[in-house]
Each structure stands twice: as C-alpha cells, then as structure tokens.
Symmetry: C4
Subunit: 244 residues, 4 copies
C-alpha cells in the first residue's frame, strides 16, 4: 500500500482526455491561425505552429503529469505498460481517453475558428521519407521520455516540449509521433491535417520507433532499475493506484 | 499565526497593480512595435506580440508571485476566493488594483510610443467563435493554474507563460482570458485593442470558463486538500496574512 | 568569516568584464546578422536580435552569477551598493570592468563580421517617448532583479532573460536599460547603435528608473531583510569577500 | 569505490553516439526544412534552424547527460580530460562515438528528406572573420560549460541550449563550435553545410578557443576544486566508472 493515495483510474482517464484535447486544440488551432495570417509564407506559419505546440506541451505536462503521467499518446502508454509501468488492465482506459480527447480537441479548434467540427483531410503525407521521419521522430521522443523520466523526472515537461519544437523542423513529416494525434489530425482539412489513407502508415512507423527506442533504452539506461523503487518508476509514480 | 509574516494587503495590492501595469504595457506596447515593423505581415506582428507577452508573464509572475500571488486577473482572484484561498474581504482590493494597473499599463505603453494616453478601440472582436475562444482560453488557463499550483507551485510562472504563448495562436481571439486585460485593451486603438461594446461578451465568456475549470479541477485534483495545509493553498501561501 | 571563500575582487572584475563583453557581442553581432539577412523586414531582424539577447542573458547570468553576481550593468551595481550589497569600495572595480568589457564586446562583434573595431553610431534615438521608455525599461528590470533575487535567486537568470526579451518589444527604445551597454552601443554604426549625443539622456533616464524601482522595492519587498542573513543578500551571496 | 555504479564505457559511448546523431539530424534537417519553406528569406530559415538546434540541445543534454555527460563534442571531451575529468584512456571511445554519430545524424536527416545520404558541401565559409567567429563561439561555449557545471550542473542543459541559440546569430559563422559537427556538416550540401576544405581551419580555431576558455576558467573559477569532491567533478559525476 502506497503512503500516498493516487487518483483513481476515472480521474486519470479524464486527465488524459482533457490534456490530449487541449494539445490537439493547440496543434490544429495554431495551424489555422498561422496559415491564415502568414500570407503564404509556410515557414512563418510553421514557426507559429511550432511555438504554440511546444509551449502547450510544457504547460499541459506540468499540469496533468502529476495526475495521470501526461502521456497523451498511445505509443507512450503502450511502452510504459511493456516496461512494467502502467498496469495492462488500465491501458484501455488510457487509449480510449486519449482518442476521445484528441477528436474533441480538433472539434474545439474548428469551433473556435468557425469551421465545421470534423472534416476529412486532403493533406497528402506519404512516401518513405515521411515514414522514416515518423519512425525517427517517435524513436527520439521515447528516448527523451525514458532518459529524463528515469534520471530527472521534473525536467520531462521541458524536455518533451523542447524535443517536439525541434522535431517539427528536423523531420520531413513535422513529427506527429503519436497515433492518437495522427488519427485526429485526419479529421481536419487545415494546415495540420493528414489524409485518412496516410494515417495507418504513420501509426505503424510510430509504433516501430517507440518499440526500438524502448528496447534500446532498456539496455542503455538500466541503472534506475537497480537503485530503488523510487527511481524505478519515476515518470509514473504519480499515476499508480495505491494498492497496485 | 504563521511563522512567516506575510506582506499586508496594501503591499499586495500595490504588487497586483504594478504587475498588471507591466503586463499590459508588454501586451499593448509589443503590439504597437510589432505592427509598426512587420510591413503588414500580421503573423510576424503576432509572433512578436506573443513572444513579449509570454516572456513578460514569466518574469512578472516570478517577481510578484511571492508578494501577492501574481493573479493580475480578476477571474483568478475570484476563483481563488471561491476555493477558499484569498479571503473574500480582500477581493475588492485585488480587483481595484488589477483594474487600475491595467489602465495604467495601457497609458504607459501609449506614452512610450508617443500616442494619446487612452483611446477607445475600433477593433471588432465579436461572434460565437470569439466567445467560445475566450471560454476555452480561460478554461485552459485556470486548469493550468489549479493543476500546477497544487502540485508544482514553483513551475506556475513557466506554465502560465507557456500556456498564454500557445493560446495566442490556438484561439481565434488571441486569448485575452482576463477581464481586467479586456477592459483596459478597450482603451487602445492599436494591434491589441478590442471595441468597448465587445468587452462585456468577452468578460462573461471568461468568467464562465473560469467557473467551469474551477469546478472540474475541484473534482479532478482533490488530493492536495487531503494531504496537508502546506499543499492545500500552494499558490497562495505567500499571500495570506499571518493570522488570517 | 564566511564558511565559503568567495572569489577575490580581481576575479570578480574579470567575470564582470568577460560577461559584459559576451553580452555586447551578442547584442551587436546578432543585430548585424539579423539586419543583413532580413531583406529589410525590421520586425524579423528585431526578432533575431531579441532571441539572441534574451538567450545570451540566460546563459551568461547562469555562468557568471556565481562568481560576480552577473550585474553587467552599472545601474545594478549602484543600486546594489545603495541597498547594502556590494561594498562601495568595490564599486569602481565593477564599473570599470563593465565599461571595458562592453567596448571589448562591441569590438569583438565588429571583428567577427569584418567591420572596423569601433565606429561612432549615426542611429538617432531621441525625444520624450525614448527617454520614458528607458526609464520604464530600467524600472522594470530593477523590479525584476530585486523581486527575484530576494525570493527566488535561482530564477534570476530566467527572469532577467525573459524580461529583456519582452522589453525589446514593448518599449520604443528597444530597452537598453544599462549605462555601460548604452555607451558601448554608441560605438557601433549598425542595427543596435545609438548616436553618442543621445547616450547621456538614455543614461540619466536609466539611473532614474533604477532609483525609482529600488526605492519602491525597498518598501514593497522588505521581508527578506527581516528573515535571515541567508535571505538578506540572496543575489549577492556568491559575490562577497569571506571576511567582508 | 563509488556508492553508485556508473554506466560502463560502452553504454556511455552509445549515449554519445546517439545524442550526437540526433543533434546533427536536428541541425541539418531543420536547415533543409527552413530553407525549403522560407521563400528565400534567409533570416526566417535561420530562425527555424536556431529554434530547432537550441531546443534539441536542451532535450538531448537532459536525456543523455546523466549517462555520458552529453559532451557530443570532441573539444569538450578533450578539455574535460585536460582538467582531470574523463580519464584519457576513455577519450578515444568518446571521440569515435561522437564522429560516427555525427555522420549518422547527417545521413538520417538526408534520408528523412529524400536526399542522398552523404554529399560533399559546396558552402564556402572562409576568411579571418569566420575563423575568429569559431574561436569566439567555442571560447564562449566552454566558458558556459565550465561555469555552470561547477556551480549549477542542473542548469547546464538550459545554459548550453540558450548559448548556442544566441551564438547562431552573433557569430559570422553561425557558431559550429564543435569539431565533430564541423566534419559531419562537410558532408551535407544544404543550408548547414561547410566545404571540406574550410573544415580544418574551423577545427583549429575551435580547439584554440576551447583551450583559451579552459585556461581562463581554470584561474577564474577555482573554488569548486577546493570545496569538496562532490563539487569537484559536477558535470561528470554521472559519467565516471565506480572504481575509476
């Protein structure tokens, strides 16, 4: 029995749902605003989109991390379960919450800009470079998360925000790196969209990248497992049930 | 009796007034500078306005937070009073200080750029998407504040600065999210202005968003209330009178 | 006798000189680079100049703060002496080091870009709005420094970097806020320059702003003086001689 | 014998290799993306390149610092060995890992954007101002690292990221400041490239700058050596073998 009662799975699911919704609202909304103001200069629109997304991640992980771990990302939840973090029986709650939140966030962004709530995207993102980009982007994201959460958990919000800020620019796909985000962005025909038929390839590449990073980090950063239970589950220590 | 004597309500009111004044000077002044230099590219002007506002918030909350809590925002002060933070008898001091500071800041920005001190804005901001944006922006802001102040109070300045940086871009209204800011920005006919007749709708939407976030977070993040008095009032622990 | 031997005044003077030199190299060099690449869009040049200056301040204060306090600014050194921080007998060392470093930094920036080492500026910055801007910019800077150094000294590098980032945009003068910086920028005929005849007005306005902020903060934030010696001299605790 | 078992040299070499690869992918990839979107405005392309590089450094040093020290830079490894940090017998492992990682990162960036894996650059970067820029950039970088790692090791990721963000703009060479980065950027004919024949001059200037900063900081910041073993090796305390 933990000395600190953790939020129950309902509260943590609402936290994942709400955080993912606000994240998608930030990604999609800032894409709409950036494109509408940038007079056709896509670099300026993407700078705005990047700034908003990175800053939103910092704020949202700081806020929701202590409740649910602030995964906002099925690839992170699955990798955490593989490594013995979140119990498998809770994984479905997280995945459903993330997916529902992602679509709610897209709808909220659309409503705030007076668009129809959900629209299939026509933004083509295909080909090997795009898939390699998603593999690399998610590999990097999971490496950052495993590395920081094991040695400096309080820096995770800043590390993840900074990493995605960079990855928007250094990958050809602008670094979706998140299956829930990918599916929801198929429902917006704006700057941040992706055609529904391109989403499955992205998701496979993301899951492979997450798996590769998790396997490598399992070997590369094992110290935390041998030191103490406190260090063993640093990024998840606020997300476990007391008696789990 | 607290072991640490807190600043009295006069000092805290001056802190709120001064911080709000500098915040408004940053919002309005950087809007004037950005628009005048950006050669008509509104995205570049808004990038400058965003950078200045987010950075000012970080600096000002770090500075004035330990004195008065650095609310700078009637919606935050009212929500804090509802949740048992700031005593209701001190609320009027805070609101008056915030309003006076906001108008002083607008006048300061105008004077620094050689404009008349206060001018009614002609910048129309109306319609459902704008009101929904203000509801969403304030809902998100209060969620960030409640979440961080309860679990990681030292991160509040960075979380709020990052959130507003994002919200400038992901809401159609550029996220005023603050009734005092809204009223004072009705007194500037520049980039950051809002027509006086549009202000009441913004303020109602902001107060509803703040109320919704406070109610949700009351349920979502209750842990702090049951742990210890120190955690109970984290964001306000520097603002209470010793014997209050 | 302090339990920790502090750097002697020679080392601290070299630290002030080196830090101020790198600060000026950043301010002037990034102005040259920004203007040369921005194709006449002054907002983009100023965004680059702002980003470089704010980031340099964070890095330099983190680096040189533990040695000399990282004042880099005669207005800060004088205000600190008035408040009983740095001993008056050491003030001349600091001022000379800051001035020498500032001109060295301008010369370094010029040499890195293939310009003559020192050139009188022809950039006019005059009139009441400019002087009010410098008064306000320095008032804000000193308020930030007094507030953070008394309650959260480890946040000073971030607060000062963030404040100057904002103040570049919300003041009409782009916030010099530093007499040594002002004099040295009179020796560059580039983006960041100021005509020599405009410098004295700037410096007077800066000193008045620093004095006003110091007087106000002396009243507004007195708690640190009555709590403990550790809190009494927070921003200077690494800069005092052991036996002083 | 240390109370904490450190990662062995193989794991630390993989950490250096992986971190340097991701750093180069960020530098080169964001240069490609920035140039392709910026419609010929080099300032906007460089803003994107700067943002991505600075943010990547923060994320990567936070992640790999606890494993290998996150040097990613032969100049840093050599300076650390000179100062008694990393043992000389481990230096070759670090240098090989950094070089291999750097070229892997360039190849990854090229593959993500559908370019040939390695291409000799035609981007001329020559002349005294460029060499002085590299001397100054590396002098500043090593000063930042020595200063922060001795007094505030947890701030190193932010200080280095902020410093490089500034140095991209205030040096005429955009601040390579790293021999491994220089060699690998000779293998990309994109925004971030450098002609192979210009690389040796850059590297000599970088090593001279690193040596000058190390000698100066040895004198300027000696306190750490006389206080305690804990402070003696702050930036390397996670990288040493237990029995070394």
């Amino acid at each position: 029995m933990s000395s600190r009662t953790q939020p129950n799975v309902l509260r943590r699911s609402v936290s994942e749902c709400l955080g993912t919704a606000l994240l998608l609202a930030a990604v999609v909304g800032s894409g709409i605003m950036g494109e509408s103001l940038a007079q056709g200069n896509v670099a300026i629109a993407l700078l705005a989109n990047t700034l908003a997304t990175g800053a939103a991640l910092v704020a949202l992980i700081l806020t929701f991390g202590p409740i649910s771990g602030a995964h906002f990302n099925p690839a992170v939840t699955l990798a955490d379960a593989v490594e013995g973090g979140i119990p498998w029986r809770e994984v479905p709650y997280y995945l459903v919450a993330q997916l529902a939140g992602a679509f709610m966030g897209v709808a909220l962004a659309h409503a705030m800009f007076g668009h129809p709530l959900l629209v299939a995207s026509q933004h083509a993102r295909e080909g090997f470079p795009q898939l390699l980009s998603e593999f690399g982007a998610t590999f990097g994201l999971l490496s950052i998360i495993w590395g920081c959460s094991r040695s400096r958990p309080s820096a995770v919000p800043f590390a993840v925000g900074a990493y995605i800020t960079a990855a928007y620019w250094f990958t050809a796909s602008t670094s979706f790196a998140n299956p829930a985000v990918t599916l929801a962005r198929a429902a917006t025909d704006t700057f941040a969209g992706i055609r529904p038929q391109d989403a499955p390839g992205f998701i496979v590449a993301q899951l492979l990248g997450a798996a590769a990073a998790t396997a490598l980090c399992h070997w590369l950063m094992p110290a935390s497992r041998s030191v103490s239970p406190d260090v063993l589950v640093p990024h998840a220590h606020d997300t476990r049930e007391g008696g789990a």
